[in-house]
């Protein structure tokens, strides 16, 4: 994480002074974006850089669904299965994906290409069903559209 410190320092300029712990979540997000997950060494680094106790960092890490302590597949497929998406075919989509990849939600394919997850409402209910692939939303999907999308993910 050390190479990201200049970036973190720039973030500080728009924050009120004396509240460095506010940078904890932004730092964790940035580290994960950089290397895919948060390692033990990163936690040590943040204890030192932000002056936040280790236990507080562990609590924050376990609080949020998006933060990870271990790497996952290259493509993270997150299928929304909340009300509006389910009313537009999300359950069929999930079954299709699970069958095609041979894994259940929460699992990664042996070649580490795909990780499959379910998520709660993504705020795209008007274009349901939606699957989030890494950062990007793919909306109005049906099984055929999903197959076409998978072909494009190496």
């Amino acid at each position: 994480m050390k190479h990201l410190i200049p970036e973190f320092e720039r973030l500080k300029t728009r924050l009120p002074p004396g509240h460095d712990a506010t940078l904890l979540l932004p730092c964790l997000r940035r580290i994960q974006e950089d290397q895919g997950y948060i390692a033990d060494g990163d936690i040590e680094g943040l204890v030192e850089y932000l002056g936040v106790p280790r236990i507080q960092i562990e609590e924050v890490l376990s609080f949020y669904g998006m933060l990870r302590r271990a790497p996952i597949g290259r493509w993270h497929l997150q299928v929304c299965h909340n009300v509006s998406c389910s009313m537009r075919g999300a359950e069929r989509l999930l079954d299709h994906l699970s069958g095609r990849l041979g894994i259940q939600p929460g699992e990664t394919t042996p070649d580490r290409r795909f990780t499959l997850s379910t998520v709660e409402c993504l705020g795209a209910c008007g274009t349901a069903p939606v699957v989030m692939v890494n950062e990007a939303y793919h909306e109005n999907l049906d099984p055929a559209g999903l197959d076409a999308l998978l072909e494009r993910l190496d």
Binding site: L11, T13, R14, L15, P16, H19, A21, T22, L23, L24, L25, P26, L28, R29, L50, V52, Q56, E59, V60, F63, Y64, G65, M66, L67, H81, N82, V83, S84, S86, M87, R88, G89, E91, R92, V119, E120, C121, L122, G123, A124, C125, G126, T127, A128, M132, E135, A136, Y137
Partner: protein, 437 residues
């Protein structure tokens, strides 16, 4: 046409979301006017006079919240725009972030001036990548033109803005939980009192408002409170962004003048139901607002019944609410037992766990409904669900525990026969169907 517009009355073009596009339609004129001719208190008074109610769920008068802060008491104050938008069915703040981010930013500046805020925040949900990119680009444009930072427009007023990204937790949309998230701690909701306008972010007086609430402020300052009051109804002034989804032909975000006919909205503006099915039920304002039957909503078919209007009072009187504006339309033939199962799974997943009735109650209700759906329901299950739901009410720190209970009781009250049928026969009266076929 869904009535007069406050937020969406412009044409979306390639650059309508940029600073240049916003300026071309009068953007940042309200800020210049306020900084030159108004005292901070005058700005707050204008918001009070407009009568605007919060658009995040509870419809609390925004002006009254702002009056809870004395801009000249010498302490730091904070203003936070709540862009967490996690309430299932809701996607309207995303419209503002993607299509009119500068309306939010200008309004944040006006609010910061009114409340004596030096450092303001936007808390945006972690999954919103594209909306965040749009917002972030707008913030950089505004900084580059001296609209944030020191001595804005030569007025002596200084203000910085930090866009804080969440990381996937519904409860962080709850205003006090959001504070913990920004402070770098586990984001547990906090007991009130003290109110957040007394002790909020970093223990200082803080206002948290929904994105749509704040984004309307620039319009109010530019056009005046009186002009705002002329839109909508006497008790529900202005407009609401309604995000509509489910079994509806034209889902999307619509700006609806408060007091507009619900029947017209559903059947004309939104094209009526999918598959030409009759309306079975509607959840008016996100799953935390009580489900209504099509009959109760009086919007069954065009012309068949006298329609209800969309405003805060009418929906409250009908036992539900406009909530977050996330309207979910449910056609005849849908299995309500399965829908409640999805809702309860959600609340169980999102409970932060610090209050026993919420932590245990959401889990317990979810286990019961899972069992009913698996065909192993017992006759006493309905009574137990009611019991847990009522026990939650009012005994928890934040509204999540209450909402889970309300969702369950409203579904049971309105569709009791379906739950009884499922338990008695071990399968759904509607084949477990959720889609409109």
């Amino acid at each position: 046409m869904t009535g007069r517009k406050v937020l969406t009355g412009f044409e979306i073009t390639a650059d309508s979301h940029t600073l240049a596009g916003y300026r071309a339609r009068g953007g940042y004129e309200a800020l210049a006017k306020a900084l030159k001719t108004m005292q901070p208190r005058d700005v707050t008074q204008e918001i009070v006079d407009s009568g605007i109610q919060g658009r995040g769920g509870a419809a609390f008068p925004a002006g009254r919240k702002w009056q809870g802060i004395d801009p000249h008491d010498g302490q730091p104050h904070y203003l936070i725009a709540n862009a967490d938008e996690g309430e299932p069915g809701t996607f309207k703040d995303r419209w503002v972030l993607e299509h009119d981010p500068h309306a939010l930013l200008e309004s944040m500046l006006l609010g910061s001036y009114a409340l004596g805020v030096r450092h303001a925040f936007v808390y945006i949900r972690g999954e919103y990548d594209r909306p965040w990119r749009r917002l972030d680009a707008a913030v950089e444009e505004a900084y580059a033109e001296g609209l944030f930072g020191e001595n804005i427009l030569g007025s002596g007023f200084s203000c910085d803005l930090f866009v804080f990204r969440g990381a996937g937790a519904y409860v962080c949309g709850e205003a006090s939980s959001l504070l913990g998230s920004i402070e770098g701690t586990r984001a547990w909701p906090r007991n009130r009192p003290p109110r957040m306008t007394v002790r909020g972010l970093y223990q200082a007086p803080t206002v948290v408002n929904n994105v749509e609430t704040i984004a309307s402020m620039a319009w109010i300052i530019r056009n005046g409170a009186q002009a705002f009051r002329e839109i909508g109804t006497e008790k529900s002034p202005g407009t609401r962004l309604i995000s509509i989804s489910g079994h509806i032909r034209y889902p999307g975000v619509y700006e609806v003048e408060l007091g507009y006919s619900w029947t017209k909205f559903l059947h004309e503006d939104c094209g009526g139901l999918l598959c030409n099915k009759p309306l079975k039920a509607v959840i008016p304002g996100g799953i935390s607002s009580q489900v209504m039957t099509g009959m109760d909503a009086k919007v069954l078919t065009p012309g068949e019944v006298e329609g209800m209007t969309l405003d805060h009072e009418v929906l409250r009187a009908a036992g539900s609410s406009l909530g977050s504006g996330g309207m979910i339309v449910i056609a005849e033939g849908t299995c309500m037992v399965r829908l409640l199962q999805i809702m309860l799974r959600f609340y169980r997943h999102e409970s932060c766990g610090q209050c026993t009735p919420c932590r245990e109650g959401t889990g317990w209700m979810h286990r019961i409904i899972d069992r009913i759906v698996a065909g192993e329901g017992r006759p006493e299950d309905i009574g137990t669900l009611y019991h847990i739901a009522r026990f939650n009410d009012g005994t928890t720190i934040c509204g999540l525990g209450d909402a889970a209970g309300y969702a369950a009781t409203a579904m049971l009250d309105n569709f009791r026969d379906e739950f009884d049928y499922y338990i008695e026969h071990g399968h759904s009266k509607f084949g477990g169907n959720l889609e409109c076929q």
